[in-house]
């Protein structure tokens, strides 16, 4: 078999840690090769070695059978290796064309020649079916289109080997399936792709082969066709993983949260982001608000938690809290796992122990006469770290910034569920997490439900919606367009409502 890229026995060390330990990756021509592993398994390090950002201590890299040394990304370019990073590297106030030609500008008599570049870009975009608007500014286009611009950037530089680093993390379900088609189209045209991911479903959809890493070590390479997702998950995590959320039937009792005719208006555009939404969540049930990103779910949660002003009535345990302060709502038993853990969930430069008391530092348990009880704060942190298996470099005093995404989320969840609350609002609680961490989050939410708390889950992942919820409402353009029982509905049906097709019926 002919390999376009061979990375043989690569070892890359950082002080105190072996990020890659004797890892081998062989990429065949015209295949989509998935690189699977949990966060921190060394996937990105391995690809950074290939891209010339790091030099390995041991091991060889062969391109088309020839041994090469890749010292920096320019070398990588030379060997026609291109990479789409998870966080796009685009100049926001430049147009699509300008971004693509940046660094390899075509010139005529010393002046920039856009027409040549633009023609090449349009040709490429037609050839690979990458819909873009060449003259639009990056800041005006969707995330999906930005990603296509990144792909075009590689193709414009004649890349043959394409590395995609977690490409679907930022995309909507529709954009994901479009990307999958683009990737299939690319290999048909003779390109070879390495897909870094921890989402098994996507691997099953597009990949031909899959190499699994765990804690920097090479676990194996498998044919995706002949391997079940369960096996791959087990290879990745190192133990059997359950995808099914095991839970009993819900036993809902009293209403905890009730919202009535909530309206949130965007102060600038006067658009109604949330339009007359009413629903109730009861004790002992998980109600899920499903919908495609940007249909008002964020604003709805902000209205309920008090982060945003709204009209309408929000009541908690029968008490009207529409005009209560955030602190009051929190104290009345509302706990909130926020969508953006870096913006809202954590103070990144505070230590873990401080972050763990962010909602409780003012209670008599942690302060007296205005003075913090640092001993109690430390004890609380030690206990939570043990109870919720939060891993960090230096224990309670680790700064939250230096923790991995999964452990940051664990810290937030630990803080929110350990409080004595009656309602838990979890907004995309598993976004960007790996299989093991997702399992943890789901278990916690079900546990909360079983303890008789009300859970309001906002999720974009249909799998999660179907698995976890006891009742589903679908939100589309700020309105609730339907209510479903997960036992009787299907993903297809939900998808239709999420896309707004059945709006008139409701």
């Amino acid at each position: 078999m002919e390999y376009v890229v061979e990375m043989l026995n690569i070892t890359k060390e950082f002080p105190g840690i072996k990020a890659n330990d004797d890892v081998t990756l062989q990429l065949q021509k015209q295949e989509i090769h998935a690189l699977l592993g949990e966060n921190g398994a060394g996937k990105s390090t391995l690809m950074s070695v290939l891209f010339g950002l790091y030099q390995p201590e041991q091991g060889t890299i062969k391109i088309n059978g020839e041994e090469v040394k890749i010292h920096d990304p320019n070398d990588a370019n030379k060997y026609k290796i291109g990479m789409v990073h998870q966080h796009f590297k685009l100049v926001h106030n430049y147009s699509v064309v300008e971004n693509i030609m940046l660094g390899v500008e075509s010139t005529k008599n010393g002046f920039l020649d856009y027409s040549v570049a633009k023609k090449k870009i349009i040709d490429l975009s037609e050839k690979y079916n990458l819909r873009i608007n060449p003259d639009a500014l990056i800041e005006d286009i969707s995330v999906g289109m930005q990603q296509r611009v990144e792909i075009l950037k590689m193709l414009y530089r004649d890349a043959e080997i394409l590395i995609f680093d977690e490409p679907t993390a930022v995309l909507t379900p529709q954009e994901i399936s479009e990307l999958m088609n683009i990737m299939k189209g690319l290999i048909k045209e003779g390109k070879s792709i390495v897909l870094i991911t921890h989402k098994l479903k996507e691997i099953k959809q597009v990949a031909d082969r899959c190499t699994v890493l765990r804690k920097g070590k090479y676990i194996g390479t498998v044919e995706v066709k002949n391997t079940s997702t369960k096996t791959m998950a087990e290879m990745m995590v190192g133990r059997p993983v359950s995808f099914e959320v095991i839970k009993e039937d819900a036993n809902p009792t009293d209403i905890v949260l009730e919202v009535h005719d909530i309206v949130v208006q965007d102060p600038l555009s006067h658009k109604l982001q949330v339009n007359n939404v009413s629903f109730a969540v009861r004790k002992g049930e998980i109600l899920c608000v499903a919908g495609i990103e940007g249909n008002g779910q964020t604003q709805l949660v902000e209205a309920i938690t008090g982060l945003k002003k709204c009209t309408g009535v929000v009541s908690l345990n029968g008490e009207d809290i529409s005009s209560a302060s955030i602190r009051k709502r929190n104290n009345m038993g509302l706990s909130h796992i926020p969508e953006d853990r870096h913006k809202h969930g954590l103070i990144l430069d505070y230590s873990l122990e401080y972050n763990l008391v962010l909602q409780e530092y003012f209670t008599p348990k942690f302060q007296k006469f205005g003075f913090l009880n640092n001993k109690a704060i430390r004890e609380n942190a030690v206990k939570m770290i043990a109870d919720y298996d939060i891993r960090s470099g230096q224990g309670p005093i680790t700064s939250a910034r230096s923790m991995s995404g999964g452990n940051q989320q664990k810290a937030i969840i630990a803080r929110e569920v350990s409080r004595d609350t009656e309602l838990i609002i979890a907004v995309q609680p598993t976004r960007g997490l790996d299989v093991g961490a997702i399992e943890f989050v789901h278990e916690q939410l079900v546990e909360m439900r079983d303890q008789g708390k009300a859970v309001l889950l906002i999720s974009l992942e249909l799998d999660e919606v179907m698995n976890l919820s006891d009742r589903i409402v679908v939100m589309y353009e700020g309105e609730l367009v339907g209510e479903f029982d997960p036992k009787t509905t299907s993903e297809t049906e939900l998808g239709i409502y999420m896309a707004g097709s059945n709006r008139s019926e409701e």
Partner: protein, 426 residues
Amino acid sequence: MENNKKRFNFEAFFTSNIIMNIISSIFSIFLGLLLGYIVMYILNPEFAGVAFRVVIASWRPIVLSGTQAYNMGEILFRATPIILTGLSISFAFKTGLFNIGVVGQFTVGAVAAIYVGVKWGVLADVWGMNLHWPVAVLVAMIVGGIWGAIPGLLKAYRNVNEVVAGIMLNYIGMYLSIYFVTKNIFNVTYARAMTVQTSAELPTWGLDTLFPSPNINIGIILALVAVIITHIILYNTKFGFEIKAVGLNRHASRYAGVNENKNITLALLISGAIAGLAGAAVYLVGGKSFAVIAVLEPQGFTGIAISLLGLTTPIGTFLVGIFYGVLQYGGYLIQGDLLGGFKPEIVDVIISTIIYISALSLFVKMYLGKIIKFISSRMAKKEEVVDGQVIALKDESLLEKPTEPKEKSKVHLSKPKEETKKDGDE
């Protein structure tokens, strides 16, 4: 394994933020002094060496000055207002605010203190107690606090940038003070504000026996107390937890139910009160009078520099403030012809050079990090040799490796610095 652990700790200690910051501050001070010396050498090569030694160790008795104790008194006297204005700025910095309005708060505080000191002589004997100076100090703090709360309120409730509001209020405060002084407490003969009554002067509480300088008073004790109180507020109280949280991440603080508007306002109010205290400390002194000229008081701006150099922490500000006092007094001493007749402004050259270089702290930190990693890898190597586990390849890689990732990501700024680094950390 044990080797690894040891090496890690060594690195972790020296690359921890606090230590790195302190080292880079010291480095800036060192370079600033060096450059100051070069300037002095260019101006007057003959006396540069002697004068420089006087500047950096001005507490040592020389012919021109008094005893060491006397000199210390002079240094503390000069350090006091700078520590306080620096403290004022440091405190606001912790809330993520740049209180450039410290100049105005200082001025209005000073004028308020002078007014009380001139007019409220009746307080000199209240049931046998002299409440004159304490009330003057208190009023200065209140007025300074109010002046600080204005940009705070504007920021909190109208999102007006506190720097713009602060600069405006500096001028408003200055002209208002001139107006107020000429109207109420003007000494026509000298065209200055009247001097405060003796009962309003800050007492010495025996400090004058310890440091026999005519200028010494309890101002330095007030400054020390303010430093300790702000330190406690910032690091041990609920209020400090909140204002630091607001400064570090406003959104998360709001999410956690912190009333950010209240905290911003309060932080600037306290910052202003400290600035007002600085004003009182400068003018509640015998023979010192407020000049009625349209010039912004320099103490405020110097405070910014001191605060930055003190890493915007109360204790750091105090230490750097003392250091500034040393330089200032040194600058005063070298004016004489005996030492080459330097101008005291040379001290400002040194201080501004230090600030200028401290802006390079990131650069300093980067190289320091490399050096420390190099040393630690050397140490680890030695230990390995001692253990008899010499692995040739490992040794070589240890020497080169630590510098590599950083270097690469520096050169290719557009490349995935974040992810790659993160991956490495994990």
